[in-house]
């Protein structure tokens, strides 16, 4: 026993190194397992508030771009207003309180911290579960899909960005409705890839890819990106499609968190069918 202690004492440098590395890797693994909510709740509010201060400064440099986005979105919303529609058939519009039911509500939030240069990128939003944000909600910006909420604390939420190793978002071709899935191959933050697009589909450069709405996380028809190239390897059943992503993740400020009111109902039903 004494010899063991002596041995450790002699090589204390190596063992201290080992100890510190083990602590670090335990932290990394916990983070990877998405068990980091405890970490976020205890320490994150301080660091997130510092990041928010930094972000307040950087906001001034982005004002022009944000104004453009907001103006664009205002125009879009105004064109959807009931006043800008011409009632073609009075019979339909007179009793329209039961013809629509609301599926999605939106919570606006501000990005206070984000990264694009890692293989697993996250964003931090300035609202948490006190504002009604929950895990697994979708996040979109005026330009398109941003990511999925991965953790919430009282006042902050972290979002797994589309620029993530594990991203898989159900997507479809806007014009024909063919389904594929979006992945991010890394390196370039403006480019994504579309997998599982069958070979009989006719593709063109510039085709728009939008969300399919199957996952109940994002509403249908939110922009994802545009086809910039595709190729077919011999013997493959699916295209390899390159996309230009619609959102500039380096320049995000205001986003919307999507709350699907009927998501739990849909998931429960789907799980029940799977279990049978």
């Amino acid at each position: 026993m004494r010899n063991i202690f002596l041995f450790i004492w002699k090589n204390y440098f190596f063992f201290l190194f080992l100890l510190l590395e083990i602590i670090s890797f335990i932290l990394i693994v916990q983070h990877n397992d998405y068990q980091k909510s405890s970490f976020i709740n205890t320490t994150n509010d301080f660091f997130a508030s510092v990041n928010q201060k930094i972000n307040n400064i950087y906001d001034y440099f982005n004002l022009k771009e944000i104004n453009r986005q907001l103006a664009e979105e205002n125009a879009k919303l105004r064109s959807r207003e009931i006043k800008s529609f011409n009632a073609t058939d009075k019979n339909v519009f007179t009793v329209n309180d039961t013809t629509y039911k609301q599926d999605y509500t939106y919570i606006d939030a501000k990005v206070v911290n984000s990264s694009i240069n890692r293989r697993k990128n996250y964003l931090t939003l300035n609202k948490g579960y006190l504002s009604g944000i929950k895990k697994d909600m979708g996040v979109i910006s005026p330009d398109g899909v941003v990511g999925i909420v991965s953790d919430v604390s009282p006042n902050y939420a972290t979002v797994m960005s589309v620029l993530h190793l594990d991203t898989k978002i159900s997507a479809k071709l806007k014009k024909s409705g063919q389904i594929g899935s979006l992945v991010w191959p890394g390196i370039n933050y403006r480019k994504g890839k579309l997998k599982d697009m069958p070979t009989h589909v006719v593709l063109h450069k510039g085709d728009t890819i939008v969300t399919s709405g199957f996952s109940a996380i994002f509403p249908e028809g939110i922009n994802i990106g545009y086809v910039i190239g595709y190729n077919l390897k011999d013997g493959e059943m699916f295209y390899d499609v390159d996309l230009a992503l619609a959102v500039d993740y380096n320049n995000l400020s205001y986003v919307y968190v999507v709350n699907n009111i009927f998501k739990t109902e849909q998931k429960l039903l789907e799980n029940k069918t799977k279990n049978d």
Binding site: F17, S24, L27, I28, I116, N117, I187
Partner: protein
């Protein structure tokens, strides 16, 4: 002695703030991010006890981790880098002896010595950092590519900082420990 501690404390604070406030918001080409804060570990005096080296590196890494929200990643990379440091110092020789009062810097030990010292340690830090982040080897070459580009940018910044904060060479005899 107290001056050395004070100098390093200031360096720790300045480098951390510079990294968090400015460099973390700099993204060259979308995926190259310089990490100049490791200069703190590079410039610790030769007389630093080995255990203190590891502990300081761990604390420095953890501080950055808190701001970037990647618990453990920078800490692991920094500890590995600090572990390598004594071996690198004893391996690469310099024309001048490591006398008390000499600091691991360009003006004390020359540019060839410093650049090879900084290159090896920066590379070891970035290797651990980027592989700890991806956490598997399936995209080996993409990760290596990111390591190399980021290392080059970090090194350029480190060398520039050495010349910007140039102190006139001191005589070694009056050097304080």
């Amino acid at each position: 002695m107290i001056k050395t501690v004070f100098d390093n404390l200031i360096r720790f604070l300045v480098l951390t703030l510079f990294q968090v406030f400015i460099l973390n918001n700099v993204q060259l080409n979308g995926y190259i991010n310089p990490y100049i804060y490791i200069l703190f570990i590079l410039l610790l005096p030769f007389e630093t006890p080995k255990w203190l080296l590891l502990v300081l590196a761990f604390l420095q890494g953890l501080t950055i981790d808190m701001f970037v929200q990647t618990p453990g990643m920078h800490a692991a990379a920094c500890v590995f880098m600090a572990f390598m440091r004594p071996f690198i110092i004893s391996t690469i020789s310099s024309k001048k002896e490591y006398e008390p009062g000499i600091q691991p810097s360009i003006q004390d030990l020359g540019s060839v010595w410093f650049i090879s010292y900084a290159t090896i340690l920066t590379l070891s830090h970035h290797l651990v950092l980027f592989f700890a982040e991806v956490f598997h080897f399936s995209e080996f070459f993409i990760t290596i590519q990111r390591v190399i580009y980021s290392t080059i940018i970090t090194l350029i910044l480190i060398i520039i900082s050495q010349y910007v904060f140039y102190k006139p060479p001191r005589s070694i005899i009056s050097g304080k420990i």
